[in-house]
Subunit: 537 residues, 2 copies
């Protein structure tokens, strides 16, 4: 058996079963392009037999040149019917895909309870459906639903199901742990036995209900599976599917299997973050390999060790998956964290420096007030550069005013009026917006535009408000985290106040200062902040 | 070897190394009480030798009656010094804890690079420190840092380190995969070998850098480890520590090990959510066992199957860990999801009903506008009950107005003026607040208070704003998710608009209606919404 693994991505199909995940046809097209660049071998696009959005997707993708095989998803034919007349199977063939995955029952309990038919009829449904696909020249993948549960309850029947698909000419037989309840040792032993029974190549499809989807996939590969079904960031029903972003690097960098090229592996972090952005799902900072904190060091002792040799607290080089080492600044940090961060920015700082101590005190004081710089690298960078007198002020606020109004039956109006001083000149500007923060953003940008035209090259991409838990509920503060992007880079800023507008204002001003000042420095350079090392790390 | 596993929780120590996690002494006390109720055997409180917050914590906890053993954390003595004079070791003894964990180096590379001492001195540091703790009558746990990496590079030295701790009288020897880079098969084979070499009981401490911390812990238990170190929700440095919320149920419900009582297991979900609340970290909906979506069903076929038998798509009964089955309503859902949700609420609905189709259309239309009911069960419930004419209106809005103002050097003011009609009477009320939404909340509550005094029994506990990604950036909508609580129950509501204030207003009105109407129904019953099945499921 070779060491090449076939990667089957189902982000666009099983991934959309996750709570809060909803992708338009346009979103799906965008993601399919990124998956193709990442180098997955199969892209499961959806179910052309079940909804019009997926039909639109398959039509739009037809004209694109993809290296990956686009696959459609469906079920084996309906009970007591004919495969050639099954509308869902016909739609799959009509969609023009080179490959298709059909899910079928392999657990006798499900045949009786969910399908409500006989064990024999289920076997015929499987045989007929795969024979039909092969007659139509479509590569045919069998997803044996609930295979492990089925095998544990009735191994003869579960195996008979697989044999039927094999006899009908299925190209892959994929064993599914649909409910996510199986353990790695069970997976290993069952996959080993099945590999010996079948001549068709085996695949694995796991779910994360026990937080074991990645381990179960690895165990199956070690037992002989050569196709992996999973999703970017582990999106999927209930607790999600197997997370390809964790499986790919572990297989390739640690276990000597071959999945994608080394260059493609370096695009993993970028791909994961892009998909999370399009899916509009916040990526957990602690996500393995690709998360923002995956190589972030907080404890002072750890930071001082990684400054000697990063291998002391990093299991791989972050660059192999396109991620970066970061040093977090927090109350747990020794001075070494500040020093490391400042050195990264090219600032002249060292442990015995009086300035380092002052900055440390200032950061501690701000954290005490509720600021959190771990999620706001741009604000921290401004703070450090300000302390070294490296940054100039862009403008001074003289006043701002905001009005929001609604009467029954009418929409709501928001307007902001700002008075700022730029280079000695007073600019007075008003703007409307979608609510107060947007109005403020619009008014401030209008005021600064004539002085800094590049302000139009970036925009706010996310805005989060969090109530900071305090004993005195009436004095509760809020923390605003703002994310901005120029489509190449992303930076985060923070503001804290009793007033959400004031906190938003702080984060907004930091975002604009960060972008304009680091942009001004490098003029029109193609990769401004990356080159200077000024982007989030 | 028995099947009883000792649970060592380090949420309060290693957990706080996670990005964005910062706990006050008060937070730590609260969490320690919940951990004790959950039934963990050791609660690692922090490092009394390193910071004053932890010293305060140990002092405050001294007076509490805990079943769990409180443990302090520290390192082996400094190089070239005497254990009896090591300030950090002395502070541990002074803190009065019954047990302590000392971390020591077991990887020769770290001894040279990070510690910068000789292999012999490191062995003496370990021996001296454990001998000291035992002389002082403190139960002594050795965390062998980077043990697996060390063992792979220099097995003789790694083993010599463990033997030193054993010779000095350590009560537990805990093998740490500090960098999180080791695979389950490696863990299993190394722990098996070590179990045979030592007479001291073995523990396991893993990190999640390959998304394998849970699998690695299970593999170690199968190989003989009898103490598990982990954290609630897997908080911890970089990608986090082993997640006790996934490990405990898998060990106990699936592998026949004994960790905590069955009643305690049923408090797992509550405990996990409480800790996430205190740590102020959003819990991923897809978190295994305890997440809000862990037993949530979205696909129409899945929903129709679980209505026949929940075992079809659930690997355990959610109640065993204190979680609940949920049916999500989304474009992927067949009618069965709506029916199931409505039946849960006791509404008269069925598949052939014209009303069901109307409701379905209405929900699809709202989702198209950007609403998301998956994270806003209370809003969905109101929608369903409204469709059945079950709910009355609490008030009618006549108008609202808001003003926010700031001049240079002064703080920001926010005031709201609302005019509402309650039971035919017009109430006109103004209030200030921390920003516009708070002012609005204050004004509305003041207006309703005289009619609904129980409005003071609950408050907003979280408020989130998310920009909904749309092609036309200038017309971007926002979605507001609001969480409210009466300390017993939590409910979530949603609002969508081009204007964040309007979206907030919608979510706020839903929150108040949900609380007042479901509260009114049951009067002063002790567990109002739980009893009626009206709380989030």
């Amino acid at each position: 058996m070779g060491n090449t693994i076939s990667i089957f991505d189902t982000t666009l199909r099983d991934g959309t079963q996750g709570e809060g995940i909803s992708l338009s046809a346009e979103d799906k097209v965008k993601i399919a392009q990124k998956l193709d660049l990442l180098g997955v071998h199969y892209i499961e696009g959806g179910n052309p037999g079940s909804n019009s959005k997926d039909i639109e997707f398959f039509q739009r993708v037809k004209g694109m040149k993809l290296n990956a095989k686009l696959t459609a998803f469906g079920s084996t034919r309906r009970k007591n019917s004919i495969a050639d007349q099954d509308s869902s199977l016909l739609r799959i063939v009509e969609s023009g895909v080179p490959a298709a995955t059909l899910v079928g029952k392999s657990w006798d309990f499900h045949v009786h309870t969910a399908l409500q038919t006989t064990l024999e009829e289920n076997l015929s449904m499987i045989y007929d459906s795969f024979a039909f696909l092969r007659r139509k020249g479509v590569e045919a993948i069998f997803d044996a639903e609930h295979f492990f549960d089925g095998y544990k309850h009735n191994p003869e029947y579960a195996l008979a199901v697989l044999r039927k698909a094999q006899d009908a000419g299925a190209d892959w037989i994929v064993l599914c742990d649909t409910n996510g309840g199986t353990l790695p040792t069970e997976i290993h032993s069952i996959v080993s036995r099945i590999s010996n029974e079948l001549s068709t190549p085996i695949g694995i499809h796991t779910h994360n209900d026990c937080e074991l989807a990645v381990a179960n996939t690895l165990a199956a590969v070690e037992a002989g599976a050569r196709q992996i079904q999973g999703t970017i960031n582990g999106y999927g029903e209930r607790c999600g599917n197997a997370n390809l972003c964790s499986i790919l690097p572990t297989l390739q960098l640690k276990m000597n299997y071959r999945c994608i090229s080394d260059d493609q592996m370096q695009s993993l972090t970028k791909t994961a973050r892009y998909v999370s952005e399009i899916a509009n799902v916040h990526m957990p900072v602690a996500q393995p390999y690709v998360g923002n904190a995956a190589f972030a060091h907080k404890g002072g002792i750890h930071v001082s060790a990684i400054m000697k040799d990063s291998k002391t607290y990093e299991h791989i080089q972050p660059e192999l998956v396109g991620n970066k080492q970061r040093v977090l600044v927090s109350e747990l940090a020794g001075q070494s964290n500040i020093i490391s961060k400042a050195q990264e920015l090219g600032l002249d700082i060292n442990a015995n420096n009086e300035k380092t101590k002052q900055i440390m005190e200032r950061i501690k004081d701000l954290e005490h007030q509720g600021y959190q710089f771990e999620g706001a690298d741009a604000s921290l960078e401004l703070l450090l550069r300000d302390a070294f007198g490296e940054m100039k002020e862009i403008f001074k606020l003289e006043s701002l005013k905001m009005l929001v109004e609604k009467t029954n039956g009418h929409g709501m109006n928001a307007e902001a009026i700002v008075k700022v001083n730029v280079d000695g000149q007073t600019v007075y500007m008003a703007a409307e917006g979608n609510g107060p923060v947007n109005a403020l953003n619009n008014a401030l940008r209008k005021a600064l535009e004539q002085y800094y035209p590049s302000i139009n090259d970036f925009h706010l991409s996310d805005y989060k408000v969090r109530v900071i838990d305090e004993k005195d509920a009436t004095a509760a503060k809020v923390r605003v985290l703002m994310e901005s992007t120029d489509f190449k880079n992303t930076w985060n800023t923070v503001g804290v106040s009793n007033n959400v507008i004031e906190a938003s204002w702080e984060a907004l001003v930091d975002s604009i200062r960060y972008a304009l000042l680091t942009k001004l420095k490098v003029d029109n350079h193609d990769e401004p902040r990356e080159q200077l090392g000024l982007v989030n790390h």
